[in-house]
C-alpha cells in the first residue's frame, strides 16, 4: 500500500514541473532564457497567500468552480497508474469514473465562467463545451480500445496487462491510440494548436478566458488543477508508450517520470514549430483523434 501512496504524492509533487519544462523548451526554441523551471511552484505559493477578489454579481457557483475542479482532478489522479504500476484506487470500471471526473471538472469550470456574466467568459465556456463534444468520445474510445486488449475496465488492470511485447504484436493499434490520446492531451490542456496558453487576447482564448475573473487561492487551485490534468492525461500516454518492462519498481518509476518529462518536452517542441489552428478547424483535429480511436477499436476487436 505504501508504494501506490508514494506514487500518488510523487505525482502531486511533480505535476507543476511539466508546464515549467514546456516553457523552457519553448524559450529554447525562441532563443530566450525563459522563466525558471519551478515558476509554477512560486506562482502557486504567491497566489495561495493572496486574498481573492469576488465580483458582486457572482454567486457561490463562482467560488465552487475552482474547488470542485481541483477536487475532481485529485480524485482522477488516484485512478491513473504510475509507470504501469497499479494505482491505489482501482476497481472494475474506474476508467469510466475517470472520464466523468474530467467531465465534472469541465462542467464546474464552465458554470463558474457563466456565473460571472462576462461576455468573454461566456464565449470561452461555449467553446470549451463545444470542443468537449469531440474530445470526450475520442478519449473514451481510445481507452475502450486499450481495455479491449485485456485487463478489464480498470486502468490499473489494463496497464498491468500491457507489456513491451504488445508493441510487437499490436503496434498499429497502440500507435493509433497514442496519436489519439496525444491530440486529446493537447486539446484538453489548452495547448497549441488548439489554444494558446500565452495569449492575452481574450477574443481568441478558450480555456484561459474562462478563468479571467478568478484570483488568489482560487486561481492557484485552477493552475494546480491544470497541472494535475496535464499529468493525468500525460500519464496515460506515457504508460502506453513505455509499458512496464522490468521487475523493479524503482526502475519502472524512474523511467515513467523521465517519459513524462519527455512528453512535456514534446509538447514544447510542438508549440514551437507550429501555429494555432483557426478556431473553426479545431473540431476537424478532434475528429481526427476520434477517427484514430474508432480505427484502433475496430482493429482491436478484429484481433
Amino acid at each position: 500500500m505504501t508504494k501506490p501512496l508514494i506514487q500518488y504524492f510523487l505525482a502531486l509533487l511533480l505535476a507543476p514541473l511539466l508546464p515549467g519544462i514546456i516553457n523552457r523548451v519553448k524559450a529554447f526554441f525562441g532563443g530566450r532564457r525563459g522563466v525558471p523551471l519551478f515558476q509554477l511552484y512560486f506562482d502557486l505559493y504567491k497566489l495561495a497567500r493572496k486574498v481573492p477578489v469576488y465580483s458582486r454579481t457572482t454567486t457561490w457557483l463562482f467560488r465552487f468552480g475552482p474547488v470542485a475542479g481541483l477536487a475532481a482532478m485529485l480524485c482522477a489522479l488516484m485512478i491513473v497508474p504510475f509507470g504501469g504500476r497499479p494505482s491505489f484506487l482501482s476497481f472494475e470500471g474506474d476508467l469510466i469514473l475517470l472520464v466523468y471526473l474530467l467531465g465534472l471538472a469541465r462542467f464546474t469550470t464552465v458554470l463558474a465562467a457563466l456565473d460571472t456574466g462576462s461576455g468573454f467568459e461566456g464565449m470561452g465556456a461555449s467553446r470549451e463545451a463545444q470542443f468537449a463534444v469531440f474530445a470526450e468520445p475520442a478519449f473514451f474510445l481510445a481507452l475502450a480500445a486499450l481495455a479491449r486488449g485485456g485487463g478489464g475496465l480498470s486502468l490499473s488492470g489494463i496497464f498491468s496487462n500491457l507489456t513491451p511485447a504488445a508493441w510487437l504484436t499490436a503496434s498499429p493499434i497502440l500507435t493509433l491510440v497514442t496519436a489519439s490520446l496525444f491530440i486529446v492531451f493537447l486539446a484538453e490542456n489548452s495547448r497549441v494548436p488548439v489554444d494558446d496558453p500565452n495569449t492575452h487576447l481574450e477574443l481568441t482564448m478558450i480555456h484561459e478566458v474562462m478563468v479571467l475573473d478568478h484570483s488568489g487561492p482560487d486561481l492557484a487551485f485552477i493552475f494546480y488543477g491544470a497541472a494535475l490534468k496535464l499529468w493525468t492525461l500525460g500519464a496515460l500516454i506515457a504508460c502506453v508508450i513505455l509499458p512496464r518492462h522490468s521487475g523493479s519498481w524503482l526502475v519502472d518509476s524512474g523511467a515513467f517520470v523521465l517519459a513524462m518529462f519527455a512528453l512535456a518536452a514534446a509538447v514544447g517542441v510542438v508549440e514551437s514549430v507550429m501555429g494555432r489552428l483557426r478556431l473553426l478547424k479545431v473540431p476537424h483535429l478532434l475528429m481526427t483523434a476520434l477517427t484514430f480511436s474508432i480505427l484502433a477499436l475496430i482493429f482491436q476487436a478484429g484481433r
Partner: protein, 505 residues
C-alpha cells in the same frame, strides 16, 4: 464646369487658391471629381477671417477645404467653400468622406445635413456642438440569437485605448463598430499660432511609432511655406530615417502577426530585430524613434564614414536575420492556413473607403506617396512593389506586402548610402510667407500622412490640419471583420496595426 485650381505638392500657394465656391457648385464639383476617381486626401474646416474661435456665435462662418488627389496622374486639386451654419454631407455617395465630415461637424460646430452616422470622432469641443458629447449609440443588430461583445477601452495588453463593439451571432461577426477618441490631446489646436518651441515635439510624439513620418511632413510644410531648399544630403538622410522607421515597424508587425497565431520562432526573432532597427536610428541621432533628427531645413545630425560602415554592418546582419525569420513564417503551413482568407478587404472596399498604405496595397490599390507625389530623395524611385505582389486583401496579403516593403526598404537604404551626396545637411529656414497654404504628403510606414498648413498675416499657422493614415484605415479594419470569426479579430487588428493616438490627435 469651371476649371478647378490645380495644386502642386509642396508648393506654397496664396490664399486666393482657396477662394470659396458657391456651396452648390462646391458639392457638384466635389461629387464630380470624386466620381472621376479622385480621392479625398484631406477635408477640413477652419474659421473665416475675423472669427477667433470655432463655435462662436454671430461670426463669419467656416471655410471648408477639400484636397483631392489623383494618384495615377500625380495631381492634386483643391476645392473650397464658405459655410454659414451647415453643410451637406456627401457621405451617402462617397463613404471615404464619412469620418472627414464627422470630424468637420465636431471641430467647427457646423450642422452636417444628411450624414447617416453622425457621432463624435474624438470629443466634441463644447456645448453647442451639433453632436452631443459622449454619444455612445452603436449600430445594433436585433434578434434573440444575436449578442453583443464589447472590448475595451481598457485592454488586457499594454496597448492604447479604443472601444470595439461587435454584433455577433455565435462566433460570427455581423458588424464591428470602433469608437476612438480616448487619446485626444488637442494637438491641432496647439499648433495654431506656431511654429513655436514645442511644435516639433508635438508632431514627433503625435504618433510615437511614426515620429519620422510626421516630423518630415511637418518640416516639408514649413520649408515649402518659407521657400527653404533642403540640401541634398539632408534629403537623403531623411529618406534613410524614414526607411529605417518602416523597417523597424514592418519587422515588428511580422513578429506580432506570428505571435497572434502562437508561432513562436518568428515572433521571438522579429521582436528582437525590431529593436535592432530602432537601435540603428539611435546610432544616427541618439533616439530610437528618431526624435530630434528631422528639423525644418534638413537634419540635425550627419553621418561620417565610420558611422556609415557601422550602419551597413548592422543593417546587413539584421536584414539577414529578418529574411530567416520571414522564411520560417512563409514556410509554415499552419501559419499560412491561418493567414489565408482571413479578414478580406476587397479592392472595391479599399477604393470606396480610401484606404492607404500597406493595407490598401495588399488589396490591390497600389498607391504610394513615395512614387505618386515624390519629394526629396524619392524623385527617382523605382516601383516599391513588384508586379506580382499579392492583392488578395487578406491577412496574408497584408503580411506579405510588409515583407516585400522590408526588402524594398533595405535596397533603398543601401542605394541611399551608396550615393550619399556630400555637402551640408541643413539650411537655415527663413520666415514663412504670410497668407499662404501648402499641402505636404509623406508615405509613413502605415500609409499616407497629410499635413495642410495655412498661415495668417504674420506668417504664423492659422490652421494646421493633420491626417494620419489610421484615420482612413480604421474603417477598413471594421469591414475586414464583416462575416468573419470573432476569434480572428486580434489577428486582423494586427495585420492593420493602426495608431490610436495618430487618429485621436
Amino acid at each position: 464646369m469651371t476649371e478647378l485650381p490645380r495644386l502642386s505638392h509642396l508648393q506654397a500657394a496664396g490664399l486666393d487658391a482657396l477662394a470659396p465656391l458657391p456651396p452648390d457648385d462646391f458639392y457638384k464639383a466635389a461629387a464630380g471629381r470624386l466620381k472621376a476617381g479622385g480621392r479625398a486626401v484631406s477635408y477640413f474646416g477652419f474659421p473665416e477671417e475675423g472669427r477667433s474661435a470655432p463655435l462662436e456665435n454671430g461670426s463669419a462662418g467656416t471655410r471648408l477645404v477639400m484636397i483631392l488627389a489623383f494618384d495615377a496622374e500625380r495631381r492634386l486639386e483643391v476645392l473650397s467653400m464658405s459655410a454659414g451654419d451647415s453643410f451637406r454631407a456627401l457621405t451617402p455617395d462617397f463613404p471615404q468622406l464619412h469620418l472627414f465630415e464627422r470630424e468637420i461637424a465636431e471641430q467647427t460646430g457646423l450642422r452636417c445635413d444628411g450624414h447617416p452616422w453622425l457621432k463624435p470622432v474624438r470629443y466634441p469641443l463644447k456645448a453647442g456642438s451639433p453632436i452631443p458629447p459622449g454619444t455612445a449609440d452603436f449600430f445594433r443588430v436585433h434578434g434573440a440569437e444575436v449578442h453583443e461583445v464589447a472590448v475595451g477601452p481598457v485592454h488586457a495588453g499594454v496597448i492604447e485605448p479604443g472601444h470595439f463593439r461587435f454584433q455577433c451571432h455565435g462566433e460570427q461577426v455581423f458588424h464591428l463598430e470602433i469608437a476612438l477618441g480616448y487619446q485626444h490631446r488637442g494637438i491641432e489646436r496647439r499648433l495654431i499660432g506656431g511654429p513655436g518651441q514645442l511644435t516639433s515635439h508635438y508632431l514627433e510624439t503625435l504618433a510615437g511609432d511614426t515620429t519620422i513620418g510626421h516630423a518630415s511632413a511637418y518640416c516639408r510644410a514649413v520649408e515649402s511655406l518659407s521657400g527653404t531648399p533642403v540640401p541634398a544630403r539632408g534629403e537623403f538622410l531623411r529618406a534613410l530615417m524614414l526607411e529605417l522607421e518602416r523597417l523597424a515597424n514592418h519587422t515588428g508587425d511580422l513578429g506580432a502577426l506570428a505571435g497572434d497565431v502562437a508561432y513562436l520562432p518568428t515572433a521571438s526573432f522579429c521582436g528582437r530585430l525590431r529593436g535592432d532597427f530602432l537601435n540603428m536610428s539611435a546610432l544616427i541621432c541618439g533616439n530610437r524613434f528618431g526624435r530630434g533628427m528631422i528639423i525644418p531645413g534638413g537634419t540635425a545630425f550627419d553621418l561620417d564614414h565610420a558611422l556609415i560602415k557601422e550602419l551597413r554592418l548592422r543593417l546587413d546582419a539584421a536584414f539577414g536575420d529578418v529574411e530567416n525569420a520571414a522564411d520560417l513564417l512563409w514556410g509554415s503551413s499552419s501559419v499560412m492556413e491561418r493567414f489565408e482568407g482571413t479578414g478580406i478587404v476587397s479592392r472595391e472596399t479599399a477604393l470606396a473607403l480610401g484606404l492607404t498604405g500597406p493595407a490598401a496595397r495588399a488589396s490591390g490599390v497600389r498607391r504610394d506617396v513615395r512614387r505618386d507625389f515624390p519629394a526629396g530623395a524619392y524623385l527617382n524611385l523605382k516601383a516599391p512593389l513588384p508586379e506580382d505582389a499579392p492583392e488578395s486583401g487578406d491577412v496574408r496579403a497584408r503580411a506579405y506586402t510588409r515583407w516585400l516593403e522590408i526588402k524594398h526598404s533595405y535596397e533603398l537604404i543601401n542605394g541611399l548610402l551608396d550615393s550619399l551626396p556630400s555637402g551640408p545637411v541643413f539650411a537655415e529656414p527663413g520666415a514663412m510667407k504670410p497668407e499662404s497654404f501648402t499641402v505636404s504628403l509623406e508615405e509613413g510606414w502605415r500609409g499616407e500622412i497629410c499635413h495642410t498648413a495655412i498661415t495668417d498675416k504674420a506668417g504664423k499657422f492659422r490652421s494646421y490640419k493633420i491626417k494620419d493614415p489610421s484615420f482612413n484605415n480604421w474603417q477598413g479594419l471594421a469591414m475586414a471583420l464583416r462575416g468573419a470569426q470573432i476569434s480572428d479579430f486580434p489577428l486582423c487588428n494586427k495585420s492593420f496595426n493602426l495608431s490610436y493616438c495618430g487618429h485621436d490627435l
